[in-house]
């Protein structure tokens, strides 16, 4: 396999609705930004790019099959190779990894990974229905048909098993919204208190409207390159490229019906021991894993990505994480899957301060200094979740963070970490049915 880099990216502002443009033209916005940022003229781009991967989740939202090819021709990329990636909420993360594969394998030197979703074409309740069709339509959908309900059941069990509280979840919402306050691409830029989050209307007990991400229209893309691809870019632009290396990828899966998730041993990360999950703090004296309180796919993806990137102790070796916080509860569950803390300790970890950004005032009493900021961009909760674009948006924000260019792109340097070396992005589908983790490093 060859070394792979992400060299540029763009995100259209995520909004509730973008009736002014069709999905093709929204993707084009992100692509144009990507090229302008490295000073690559559009015609030159069409000359040297080898192909693309298209990312979008639901054919129902567009009521248009083969939407990927319509983007491809709008961008002027026909007749170059492309394929569409679909994996629920993880679609964007999978797209990023498919582009990685195209480069790593030697099949391409320059690959554009683009994604979009236009969810405003239906009302929120219909959108919830479309999303719920990504649960078993014989056994799950007809009973509840509501993803927020499924996630709420998962966190209720997490609360029962580990003592996690709704206030701990609210910390995640306050953090992510406050971070997004400084991110002009975010859909929701709000300064909130724990009281605001808990006082918002309940959607599925105990999750409130401010514990849950919103539907969005938006697009994002990244340009992925080999070393040869970087040389081609530099020749075409006459400028040096500020490349970020993709040093690890991992993926995992789990049963679609969360009721079917079995109980196994915890797959341990290098810094964990089997004894960590035995003791009277666990129901029955031993952690029943994954249960429905944990995402086995998230642990599987993390294990592979960490092994690939040579990470032994994630909290110490990763400087920030952009993770899939469709729910405040799933951010807490994901801390545990990614080994930022042990299983069962996610609630406490959420309020410790370790996942917050330095230099931002949250109005909360936090006992620890930031160690590994999680969702420095504001995450899905505040940025929005136009599904096919989301994982790529994370890649773009993580790349800018490692390039040290947040100030330039956000027009505000507040969210720029001081000299971060390594970041992780995490994309998640279903109630943890597909999960991808990718590691990005300053090169």
């Amino acid at each position: 396999m060859r070394p792979v880099y992400v060299v540029s990216g763009g995100v259209s502002k995520f909004k509730k609705a973008r009736p002014d443009k069709t999905f093709q033209a929204i993707v084009k916005e992100a692509v144009v930004y990507t090229l302008q940022d490295i000073g690559l003229e559009y015609g030159k781009f069409l000359e040297i790019v080898d192909g693309s991967v298209a990312s979008y989740f639901s054919d129902h939202f567009t009521r248009q099959l083969m939407a990927g090819i319509m983007v491809q021709d709008y961008l002027g990329l026909t007749p170059k190779p492309s394929h569409r990636v679909e994996g629920g909420g993880a679609t964007g993360g999978l797209c990023f990894q498919e582009a990685w594969k195209s480069i790593a394998s030697g099949n391409m030197d320059l690959c554009l990974a683009y994604g979009f979703e236009t969810m405003s074409h239906v009302n929120t309740w219909k959108g919830n229905e479309f999303i719920a069709l990504a649960s078993d339509v014989s056994f799950d959908y007809p009973v509840g048909g509501f993803y927020s309900g499924y996630y709420a059941m998962m966190v209720v069990r997490h609360m029962k098993e580990f003592g996690t509280t709704v206030e701990q979840m609210a910390h995640v919402s306050v953090k992510n919204h406050m971070n997004a306050y400084h991110n002009p691409y975010a859909q929701k830029r709000q300064k909130l208190t724990i009281g605001d989050v808990r006082g918002a209307p309940i959607v599925a007990w105990p999750l409130t409207r401010l514990d849950i991400c919103v539907m969005s229209d938006g697009a994002a893309c990244t340009l992925i390159a080999s070393e040869e691809g970087i040389r081609k870019l530099e020749k075409a632009t006459g400028k040096s490229v500020n490349a970020v290396k993709i040093t690890g990828i991992g993926r995992g899966t789990d049963a679609m019906r969360m009721s079917d998730r079995p109980h196994k041993e915890v797959p341990l990360l290098p810094h964990e021991k089997a004894e960590d999950y035995v003791g009277k703090q666990f129901v029955g004296g031993k952690l029943k894993y994954p249960g429905i309180h944990s995402f086995r796919a998230g642990r599987t993806a993390s294990l592979q990505a960490y092994k690939h990137a040579g990470i032994k102790d994630p909290l110490k070796e990763i400087d920030f994480v952009e993770l899939h916080d469709a729910y405040t509860s799933s951010e807490i569950q994901t801390y545990e899957d990614m080994g930022l803390c042990r299983y069962g300790e996610g609630g406490e970890f959420a309020t410790s301060g370790k996942t917050f950004m330095p230099g931002i005032e949250y109005g909360l009493k936090l006992k620890d200094q930031p160690v590994c900021p999680v969702n420095p961009s504001g995450g899905l909760i505040a940025c929005g979740h136009p599904v096919g674009a989301t994982g790529l948006m994370q890649a773009v924000f993580a790349m800018w963070q490692l390039q040290g260019t947040i100030g330039k792109h956000f027009g505000d340097p507040k969210l720029q970490l001081k000299n971060p070396k390594r970041g992780a992005i995490h994309s998640h589908a279903g109630t943890g049915t597909y999960v991808s983790v990718s590691i990005l490093e300053k090169s």
Partner: protein, 177 residues
């Protein structure tokens, strides 16, 4: 020879979207500044959905019997129809489930997807059964949604069946035992 005349005008019909007027400036260069035209399109489908190998489960509900499956090779017990074992790939057989279980977890849906909006607030739960390794997603009835508490986790519940089967998984539901 007279040629048969072919109709040269399309029929004017009344269904669908009718726009009686749209803005059009004399100068086409101004068109880029116009607001988008947004139309409503309705979309309805009847699916012919087969339950396939899982069909006996629904027949069971219609007969007030709750069925699960058990692997003939590794004895793993599924509280849902899984005719192919997730653990070993072996073939499972149908088995009768106990009609009592415990609430493994639950939620109150105050909001929902369009189809279920009119049923809100409704309670969802995952039920665990003695001797079975997996859970069953079901509706929980007979509790006040406003009183939701973590104490409901672990509560004993029993299965009840609809009198007139709709051949949906909601033909069975659970109430406090």
């Amino acid at each position: 020879m007279t040629k048969k005349r072919i109709q040269e005008v399309v029929e004017e019909t009344d269904e669908g979207t009718i726009l009686f007027n749209v803005p059009m400036p004399r100068n086409v260069e101004l068109l880029k500044d116009l607001s988008p035209i947004i139309i409503k399109q309705s979309y309805h489908i009847d699916y012919i959905h087969s339950y396939g190998q899982d069909s006996p489960w629904f027949a069971g509900l219609a007969n007030k019997r709750l069925l699960g499956t058990r692997c003939q090779k590794c004895r793993y017990g599924f509280a849902t129809p899984k005719l192919s074992c997730m653990e070993c790939g072996g073939e499972c057989d149908w088995v009768e489930m106990p009609l009592e279980g415990k609430v493994h977890t639950f939620t109150v849906c105050e909001f929902g997807s369009e189809e279920f909006l009119k049923e809100t607030p409704f309670l969802l739960c995952l039920v665990e059964f003695e001797g079975f390794n997996t859970l069953l997603l079901s509706r929980l009835i007979g509790l006040d949604p406003k009183e939701a508490t973590l104490n409901w986790v672990g509560m004993k519940v029993k299965a009840k069946f609809r009198r007139n089967s709709k051949f949906k998984p909601t033909d069975v539901y659970f109430v406090p035992a």
